[in-house]
């Protein structure tokens, strides 16, 4: 039976949800799972990868890797995939994985299916689908002449399995690979928030022009903190400078697919919908009953967001016992 390689990333001392989803999917397929961890301090996550389905964990944990360097990381992951003998490689679409995996695939003369939302693994096959044209249709990505099949999955698409505290994995360490020296990461500048990134968030609370100004985003922050959600915005808001561009959702912002997306004071322009219509449950709060956002929503509230949002925060606090 062929093997599966899962690229695993951590957030602090935990594995990222997207990585857990893929470890579970790989484990459920019944195939042998090899997990790969790359970066300083990642060795500490090896045991967790084992508890979540990996039989073997490949680790390249060297201070010399630095925060992120596409050169050395590509070299490290390419070596790991080759050594693993896997013919399917799974990675969750994090910022790093999206940067890295097309490079690794190219180096192994293979194709990559990115931004996938459906994954079916069998004893030797892999079947994936992805949205196209801003979610207006979907298609299967079939691997043809690809020695290794690389799949980048959107997070929040698959279930997470229960960890088995007794399961252990064999850990194999890999040395720091040589880089080309043509590119170096000089500095990492921390962002304003250490919350889960929009692209990986399980819940998002987004504000549009209806928020009126930057200060009013405070009420969305309160709601987001209650829910453990990340705050997003429409382009109108990012362009007005009320929030940084990194918070923009949509065609020229981030593509997100959380379990819950709350849109407050967002009209639902096609370019905004392009970035969030893959969300499982969409809630729209808008004072205009004809706002297009309602057509894409699961639940709709016609009302003044300045009245509804604080009440919603209150109710969630009660419901979540906070």
């Amino acid at each position: 039976m062929s093997k599966i390689f899962v690229f695993v990333e951590g957030h602090g001392s935990e594995l990222k949800k997207g990585s857990l989803e893929l470890l579970n999917a790989a484990k459920q397929s019944g195939r042998e799972v090899i997990a790969g961890l790359v970066g300083p301090g990642t060795k500490a996550l090896a045991a967790k990868a084992g508890q979540n389905g990996a039989k073997t964990v490949f680790v390249c944990d060297d201070a010399g890797l630095g925060h992120y360097n596409p050169d050395t990381f590509t070299a490290a992951v390419s070596t790991m995939v080759k050594e693993s003998g896997a013919d399917v490689v799974l990675a969750s679409s994090s910022v790093m994985a999206r940067d890295l995996f097309p490079r690794v695939a190219a180096r192994l003369d293979s194709g990559v299916a990115s931004d996938c939302t459906v994954l079916e693994l069998s004893a030797s096959g892999v079947k994936v689908r992805k949205p196209l044209y801003s979610g207006k249709c979907t298609a299967e990505v079939e691997f043809v002449n690809s020695p290794v099949r690389f799949v980048l999955m959107r997070p929040n698409q698959l279930p997470v399995g229960a960890a088995d505290a007794a399961a252990t994995a064999t850990v194999r360490e890999f040395p720091l690979p040589a880089g080309s020296g043509k590119i170096t990461c000089k500095e990492m500048v921390k962002g304003a928030s250490n919350k889960t990134d929009l692209t990986e968030a399980n819940a998002i609370v987004s504000g549009g022009r209806g928020m009126q100004n930057a200060e009013n985003f405070k009420i969305l922050d309160d709601l987001a903190n209650t829910l453990g959600a990340t705050v997003g915005a429409s382009r109108a808001v990012a362009d007005a400078g009320w929030v940084p561009h990194s918070m923009q959702v949509g065609q020229t912002g981030k593509t997100v697919a959380p379990s819950l997306y709350i849109a407050a004071g967002i009209s639902g322009a096609i370019q905004h919908l392009a970035g969030m219509s893959g969300s499982k449950v969409i809630v729209a709060i808008n004072k205009d009953p004809d706002a297009p956002i309602f057509q894409k929503s699961t639940y709709g509230i016609v009302g003044d967001l300045f009245e509804v949002i604080p009440k919603l925060t209150e109710e969630f606090k009660k419901a979540l016992h906070k």
Partner: protein, 257 residues
Amino acid sequence: MKIFVCLKQVPDTETRIQIKADKSGIEENGVKWVMNPYDEFAVEEALKLKEAKGAGSVTVISVGPKARVTEALRTAMAMGADDGIVIDSNEPLDTFWTAKALAGAIQKEGAFDMIFAGKLAIDDNAASVPQILAEALGLPHVTVVTKLTAGGTLVAEREIEGGAREIFEVQGPCVIAANKGLNTPRYASLPGIMKAKKKPLKEMALADTGVQASQLKTRLKDFQLPPEKPAVKMIAGDAATQAKELVRLIMDEAKVL
């Protein structure tokens, strides 16, 4: 300074998408095509860089059906690019071979300093061609770039999780994938549009770049419309009632938290 910009022509977001009867792709008749929005940032940055150096050239390059993608190349030339290369291909290519075709064409043109591209194309959201291109040419590459400073060494800032940024120093020729925030793309002026019509456009056959469409690594098939969403459930009442009911629905009906 010799600069290349890789462009893709994509359906306008507002355009209606219809699937072919055999599900092998989309019906292209009636689709309105535009330059991929991220590629506009790439063109703008290339033009700015050339202007700052006071010398050089910006060549735009695209793979696709010649008659169609030429429009996108002319748009970029109307913005100010000096010339264009069209790699004529009627076969849909995967990201791997698109990148190889671009690499093959660029290598034929001799020495260069820089290649720009958009961070992704909004049709397939793949974000893969610039990386594969960089691998094919053995060049350093920074993705999702929001700030570029070209002094002695090139400094490229890239946006990562939670608004954090990584700052890279790059030596020698490289590939830069542009993100929104890098600049504000200029509009094509009327004289620009007139001039663009006369700018040189070189044509290459796919085979000239060393690529065979029959070797595809991945192929798209079985196109489907997304499953219909059930109709929206509107919640009536005053703000307090609406909030309470919404929380109940999210927790008990949708069960997403």
